[in-house]
Symmetry: C2
Subunit: 294 residues, 2 copies
Amino acid sequence: MSVLVVGSVALDTVKTSTGEAAEVLGGSATYCSYAASFFNRVGLISPVGEDMPRKHLDAMAEHNIDTAGLQVVPGGKTFRWTGRYSEDFLERTTESVELNVFGDYDTTVPEAFRDAEYVFLANGAPEAQRAVLEQLDRRKLVFLDTMNLWITEATEALLAVLKQVDGLLLNDEEARLLTGETNLLTAARPKTVIIKKGEHGAVLVSDGRPFVIPAWLTETVNDPTGAGDCFGGGMIGYLKAGQTDFETLKTAASYGTVIASFCIEDFSVARLQTLTLEDIEVRRARFAEMISWD
Amino acid sequence: MSVLVVGSVALDTVKTSTGEAAEVLGGSATYCSYAASFFNRVGLISPVGEDMPRKHLDAMAEHNIDTAGLQVVPGGKTFRWTGRYSEDFLERTTESVELNVFGDYDTTVPEAFRDAEYVFLANGAPEAQRAVLEQLDRRKLVFLDTMNLWITEATEALLAVLKQVDGLLLNDEEARLLTGETNLLTAARPKTVIIKKGEHGAVLVSDGRPFVIPAWLTETVNDPTGAGDCFGGGMIGYLKAGQTDFETLKTAASYGTVIASFCIEDFSVARLQTLTLEDIEVRRARFAEMISWD
């Protein structure tokens, strides 16, 4: 196993101006794994409940994702999230969250996954992220995604794991939180910091060198859920294939952007399931044309 | 005269988290003219009051701007704007506006300016924009900037002038207004529409082809006033030098972006006055590096 993704696998209920999807496959680690799996086989670690439909696990398995690390917790219920997007998709309201089995789970990494070199710690409790990381002796590149909850409520634990990662992903608001309220960035100094700005793209700073990438100008949006996770997953998936120098990071970000742009075209992982690497390359070429100048 | 700029020349009072500047040179046409003047001599048409300090006009004249079209209105007071920016510079509150001589002025174009080919109608009343335009028989390329006030209060007059322009510049909010409340874009169909998104850069759509350009990641901001006008002015200034095909529009937008990034480093036009075309080219090369990938 070379790319390992750790985080939530969920059942989401999503309401947007174009429709509604109830109890569909979601979760940060799910989106991230799908995105990374276009480049490499991916190992996924997450707890799920007994209520997780078998078809979702089968679909993942067909998509280059090794689900051996999905622990089905006896008697447990899967993590659930319900959210609603504004008419223009730019704002999101969480209507309910049930952590269920994701609240506290066994972080033992299956033997077959312990040689993972490329690791994506998708959004989750910093304690669990660290527990997993410490079992991976061969790790070469670790990206971590986090959210405001952990920045404010688990600052020390987050700092401890941050010191062991190469790249940190945040959204705009979280970046302000991190630089405003605490000194986490200065204390941990991850080599690469990636600010995800949604419809405005992303900014990547690596060893002090900046890179800015806009979002694809999309015509079809049905469900923005998972776009940020696809961006990160696409990056780590591509990075596995090559170097991790600055130029390669830029290229990886272009793949992340394009995969995210497909993700939001349909609810859940529906678009990702039919997507091919060729589709990705075609759009990536059009994207390059859309943002380049002489 | 080949590039002509029409709009406001003002005395601004600006308050930001880094300082305050009282009664300094401002106005949309001022910023636009400075930006365009790096590439060509610029004719500027605007009314000013008797209170406009001579030093400002002298400074413009030294910066490749022909001020023969600045009408000093006898007994008149110059347009004044007072504004305050939020701590992070992202929000602006207008504290007072006095239109003064800009409220209703003589739009006669001086004889020497009537052969202008490249025209920038900076933000102002659509009636005045049209009156000026109709005196320019040799116009080849006309860009128009407008704001929410004119979209809602002078819709018909704006539509009339829009039908005669090649490019329309708007900010994000105005673009929503234009597509939301009225049918102006569909009715006028300017060949090129440019949405200025401030710290998120700009989106340009020309004959249906999209181009996205991020903003320069700036380290020094003191006064964001005039950034959008510099973007437009830099574009029209550069376009004068060459073709107006899609690739050239993209290049022009890169110059506009870079000139705007210098503008915000100091209050009023202070940074633009010391800026050289070489400074612009150096940053433009760094900018290209910052946003390109293989």
